[in-house]
Symmetry: C2
Subunit: 89 residues, 2 copies
């Protein structure tokens, strides 16, 4: 598990991700439901590639991703790798 | 908006949907993330066809759908039409 210091450093390198309890979270907005669903599928592909899956909340044109490593009880490098990959897509 | 009586009648005709505040909710389980994502896409197609969109929570192999008609401040026939279509797919 990453220290709070390491989490802060990594969060500072990302855009729009916030600390939420033991997880990091980001909300995305799209023009409509279909575009939001397309994004969810792209996130799904990255999640499968990295074998690490965010919680995905899809509410019409908005998507909220929540990342944490349940097996470690907190945030790990895997969460930040996936967050970076999602935002670099 | 449907009366509580009408909601109860319609809920009784469905399987696994429960009343949750002003909404109805159902949780589905799948073998893995990919199957859960396939289900989310099928729900998305039905939602677009009916122009009525559930909140969709995807957590690895589980999907929670929450339906209500925000514009009406509660449950309407549209929610039950979509619930029936999802479970008939």
């Amino acid at each position: 598990m990453l220290s709070l210091h390491d989490v802060a450093v990594r969060l500072g390198e990302l855009n729009g991700w916030v600390l939420e309890g033991n997880a990091i979270q980001k909300e995305y907005s799209f023009a409509d439901f279909r575009q939001a669903l397309t994004f969810v599928n792209a996130v799904g592909e990255l999640a499968e590639q990295q074998n690490h899956h965010p919680d995905i909340m899809l509410r019409y044109n908005r998507v909220i991703l929540t990342l944490s490593t349940h097996s470690a009880g907190g945030l790990t490098e895997k969460d930040f790798e996936l967050a970076r990959a999602i935002d670099a897509r």
